[in-house]
């Protein structure tokens, strides 16, 4: 694996391999000194053209746990606003000796373009509505480990609810969960499904999912409720009527929580909109036998990103057990 741009580029064995390596990383993180020298000769540069402190810190923590040098570039502090072209920026940073760029950009495809512009390795940390592959991996990892299932989610029913159309998380996580055998149903108003679904008599090719417009039809049968962030700005182009209307029909309300199966779990990629997609007190989940995996997703994000960075260098990296 030279780059990680999209989970579509990985087969089932590739995804399972990254998750199994993440198990090792969880063990590393549990040590008194949670650090290995694997990437001590490498420089990892966060190249964030779009703000995301959480994802950036998660990647940088992962890099530091592997002993890599870390650099941070954010658009607000940069020459992006000074007339320098995007390619100039990448060339300049690459010339400083960066081994890995961790890239976040508002437009799909920019991380792939960077692989063509320089020799550094590239990890996609979210590009437009395209992919956020480490999110997909950490979701699959968190769910499969929480359920004690290893790399096998066959028979698990997942409802992914919300703004699928604009979601890179959906495109990555659906792929990862599907590869591990889970059945995913997308639940959203028609306006928030990808354009290919609009007016289509069947689910478009390439989407291993079912579709529903009614969360109440499924809420009592699913093992996993995966809620996506609903942004208020979606009102601007009439994707939703109002946050309240959306919440009433697609949010996790008290009534829906009461109908969820015991032993089912709640996931969310964060940051959460309380009162919109999550309209219950999360502390009440346990009363209904529902497990909240949201903070575990965040914790596992570091192990999964360590796994990705480590795997990029394969045999060229030093052993993780070498402490």
């Amino acid at each position: 694996m030279k780059h990680l741009i999209s989970l579509d580029d990985l087969d089932a064995a590739g995804i399972a391999g990254l998750l199994s390596t993440a198990d090792h990383m969880v063990e590393v993180l549990g040590r008194p000194q949670p650090k290995v020298p694997a990437l001590r000769t490498k420089t990892v540069c966060s190249l964030f053209f779009e703000d995301s402190t959480r994802t950036r810190l998660s990647f940088e923590t992962a890099a530091k746990r592997l002993s890599a040098e870390t650099l941070t570039f954010t658009a607000s502090s940069s020459s992006v606003n000074k007339g320098e072209s995007l390619r100039d920026t990448v060339d300049t940073l690459a010339a400083m000796g960066v081994d890995v760029f961790v890239v976040r950009h508002k437009t799909a495809g920019l991380p792939l373009s960077i692989t063509r512009w320089c020799d550094a390795r590239v990890v996609n940390a979210g590009d437009g509505a395209h992919q956020h592959p480490t999110q997909g991996l950490l979701d699959a990892f968190t769910l499969s480990r929480a359920l004690g299932r290893g790399n096998d989610l066959s028979g698990i029913r997942v409802a992914m609810v919300g703004d699928i159309r604009h979601s890179r998380v959906a495109r990555s996580t659906v792929r990862a969960l599907h590869v591990l055998g889970a059945s995913v149903t997308l639940v959203a108003p028609a306006s928030l499904l990808p354009a290919a679904f609009v007016g289509a008599p069947t689910v478009p090719a390439g989407w291993p999912v079912e579709v529903s417009h009614n969360l109440d039809d499924l809420i009592g049968d699913i093992d996993v409720l995966y809620l996506l962030r609903m942004q208020r700005e979606r009102m601007d182009n009439a994707f939703i009527s109002s946050p309240g209307e959306y919440s009433a029909h697609f949010g996790l309300t008290k009534a829906r929580l009461a109908r969820m199966k015991k032993g089912s779990v709640l996931m969310h990629p964060g940051p959460m909109n309380h009162g919109i997609e999550v309209a219950v007190d999360l502390d009440t989940l346990a009363d209904h036998g529902v497990t909240n995996l949201i903070t575990r997703q965040v914790t596992n994000g570091i192990a999964v990103r360590m796994s990705v960075l480590f795997t990029l260098f394969g045999a060229g990296s030093e052993a993780i057990d070498g402490q």
Binding site: S85, L86, R87, D88, H105, K106, T107, A108, G109, L110, L112, S113, W117, D127, G128, A129, H130, Q131, R168, R171, P194, A195, A196, F197, P204, A205, G206, N237
Partner: protein, 437 residues
């Protein structure tokens, strides 16, 4: 004895005219066609004996040079990407004798001073006729009508806001009333912009998978329908720029059946490439309107074949490398077209060479109002604006062969059929054996 440079003899080719094709040599003298007869080569003295200069056209078609209805020459304002001189050279190498220069220059071609400048720069380059289009609205801002009377008096025949389709129905209705009165043609880039905000590619399965904002086909279809009804009401003629959807072809076909004075064009890329190309996320494939599906490509080819679509126009849109080396949202839309249009048409349109000549020369010359000098049958007394091209054999474009200032062509590493061999502009040989003067 030196040859008489004012005379040129095109030998061994097949002359293609509206009435048919025939083997004939073509003698050009003083800027016009003097004789079109078989075996003139044998009858006239050799160049070394004072006879006309020979252009060998064995196995080639000899016909009126091409007319591009849609060329972005980028001058004035964007000379880093292209100039009228470099675009003229690319046009000549592509077999063109005339180009309609799009008005999205800076300043825009919305007044006599700018259109005269563009025309004059074309004359200075001296390789093709540069016919400036005029804006429909001042600054292409869609709110104030451009000075149609003044620009029409200065010879402008085609008016368009190109990339900014005229959104306001009141403005378009008024503009059509002026067009009818002046006998000029409005050209619309059909797009309801409210439906395409931020779009970078065709909206469909591919955009859904790639997570790229989509340009829905309906945005083109709705504007086309509106403008056809405005044409029906006003009686003015309208030309529809670079159609891209299957439904658009059906709508224009119906409008023509209704007898409305509408014409339409298609680009070489819309009959050869699909939205799947965006899977590479390469900004080379970002164009406006976007590359669409194979179903659309096939409908456009059929529309071109049956005459629903009158013309092949390049939408030649050079962009300097640093403008394309950005993310897909920031990179400007457009690709080169002049040097590859014939090759792409012969390779991908499914049309006969004759239909291609009709769509690249005869029809666009009339739409552009250039029929006095361009798109004429090759006959005695006609201005000598001619192209000689092969319809067989393949070639590949290389970055070095591009004479535009930019290299944003999608046609590298692909075989193209047929090639321009010679071009004569106003009696002068501007391209000989594929090389410009």
């Amino acid at each position: 004895m030196a040859s008489d440079n004012s005379q040129v003899l095109i030998t061994g080719g097949t002359v293609m005219n509206r009435s048919g094709e025939s083997r004939a040599d073509v003698l050009l003298s003083s800027g016009v066609v003097e004789r079109v007869e078989p075996d003139l080569d044998a009858k006239l003295p050799a160049a070394s004996s004072g006879g006309p200069r020979r252009l060998v056209a064995d196995g080639c078609i000899v016909t009126s040079s091409f007319v591009d209805l849609h060329t972005h020459m980028r001058e004035p304002g964007r000379e880093e990407s292209e100039t009228i001189a470099t675009a003229s050279r690319a046009a000549a190498l592509g077999g063109y004798g005339a180009c309609v220069a799009m008005p999205n220059t800076d300043p825009a071609q919305d007044n006599v001073a700018v259109v005269e400048f563009v025309r004059l720069q074309g004359e200075r380059a001296g390789l093709v006729t540069v016919a400036p289009s005029g804006c429909i609205t001042v600054g292409r801002n869609g709110t104030q009508l451009a000075p149609f009377h003044s620009m029409a008096a200065a010879g402008v025949r085609l008016f368009t806001d190109d990339g900014n389709g005229v959104q306001d129905p009141l403005i378009m209705r008024r503009a059509l009333e002026y067009a009818r009165e002046l006998g000029i043609t409005l050209a619309q880039h059909c797009e309801v912009s409210r439906l395409t905000d931020g779009a970078v590619m065709h909206e469909g399965c591919c955009s859904s998978r790639l997570g790229l904002p989509g340009w829905p086909a309906i945005a083109e279809v709705l504007m086309l329908q509106r403008d056809i009804e405005l044409v029906r009401e006003t009686g003015a003629s309208m030309h529809f720029l670079h159609l891209s959807t299957a439904r658009s072809v059906e709508i224009v076909r119906q409008a023509k059946n209704d007898g409305l004075p509408v014409t339409a064009e298609v680009t070489p890329h819309h009959i050869s490439l699909t939205d799947e190309k965006l899977s590479s996320f390469s900004t080379l494939f970002k164009v406006n309107p976007p590359l669409r599906t194979m179903e659309d490509v096939e409908a456009l080819r059929a529309g071109l074949a049956d005459g629903t679509i009158d013309a092949i126009a390049t939408d030649h849109a050079p962009h300097a490398a640093h403008l394309k080396d950005q993310d897909l949202s920031s990179a400007p839309p457009g690709m080169l077209g002049l040097q590859t249009a014939l090759g792409v048409a012969l390779s991908h349109s499914g049309c006969s060479p004759r239909r291609i000549v009709e769509a690249m020369s005869w029809a666009p010359a009339a739409i552009a109002g250039l029929e006095a000098a361009h798109g004429r049958d090759v006959a005695a007394g006609v201005p000598a604006n001619l192209v000689v091209f092969t319809t067989e054999g393949t070639w590949r474009q290389t970055p070095e062969s591009i004479v535009s200032k930019s290299t944003n062509s999608p046609y590298f590493d692909v075989d193209l059929v047929g090639r321009v061999r010679h071009v004569v502009h106003r009696g002068e040989v501007v391209v000989a054996e594929g090389v410009t003067r």
